[in-house]
Symmetry: C2
Subunit: 123 residues, 2 copies
DNA sequence: TATCGTTATATATTTAAATATATAACGATA
DNA sequence: TATCGTTATATATTTAAATATATAACGATA
């Protein structure tokens, strides 16, 4: 009695199906989990700098990410202001909010897919 | 008349949904596209060394990958032989063949999911 | 027992990506 | 006009991952 691959994957290894998802444009990645979280935190904290700190991401990386997004989108996702009452800050646009919402729904459907595939492995 | 996020993503950027998929066990990645391709090429070429060359992967990386897989699985995926008539070689087990088949089906379903989500973006 | 090309292994080097550091520019406010 | 903390930018350093290189062990065969 030989073991099926399912037996090995599930019974012996307790394996599960996992993955990651992003929006792609032209050649490469465009909008994935990282940018989503960064935008959310910019909205919360009011600045790229603080958002980056919270994520333990270097400010440089965060700024380049936002800069790239703003350049690629037809409409910017973040409006930065250098200088001002408290030194400045950044706000996210309504388009960014829509993007986040869309991505949440998309990820939910993806999570369902992954769960379904993991369950399928078990029966 | 403001643009919806869908308009921006599809009309302006021609964005599509993409992602990657793997089997996970315990803490981390376990079996993704890379290992699948490597196993396929070991089956074709009869050696880890040649398979790695074809993929332009360093032998070391290929060997470590196979070694890790063999250690993690209840049954090895590759049977290596050092020494022998032509210096040696490696063959893949029936479990490896099953794994590859399973992964192909899984990726097909994932591709369908991605296509569906990309189309959903368009309407 | 010499030969073959492979597996198995250690170590050095290269590469790419990230963080770290420093600093100018900014603009509302007191 | 001095101050604030931020954005914006360049450069140095660190880190992690990969390749490159070298070599011993292997075992069937002639």
């Amino acid at each position: 009695m030989t073991k099926s691959i399912k037996d090995i994957l599930i019974k012996d290894l307790n394996a599960r199906v996992n993955g990651s998802l992003w929006l792609e444009v032209g050649d490469g990645h465009f909008f994935g989990p990282g940018p989503v979280e960064l935008l959310e935190r910019i909205a919360e904290t009011g600045s790229i700098s603080n958002a980056a700190k919270e994520m333990k991401m270097s400010y440089k990386k965060a700024w380049e990410l936002i800069n790239r997004l703003n350049a690629q989108m037809a409409t910017p996702v973040v409006i930065p202001q250098a200088g001002g009452e408290k030194g400045g800050g950044s706000i996210i646009t309504s388009e960014a909010i829509e993007l986040i919402k869309y991505h949440r729904l998309l990820r939910k459907r993806f999570a369902d897919f992954l769960e379904k595939e993991t369950k399928r492995l078990k029966f």
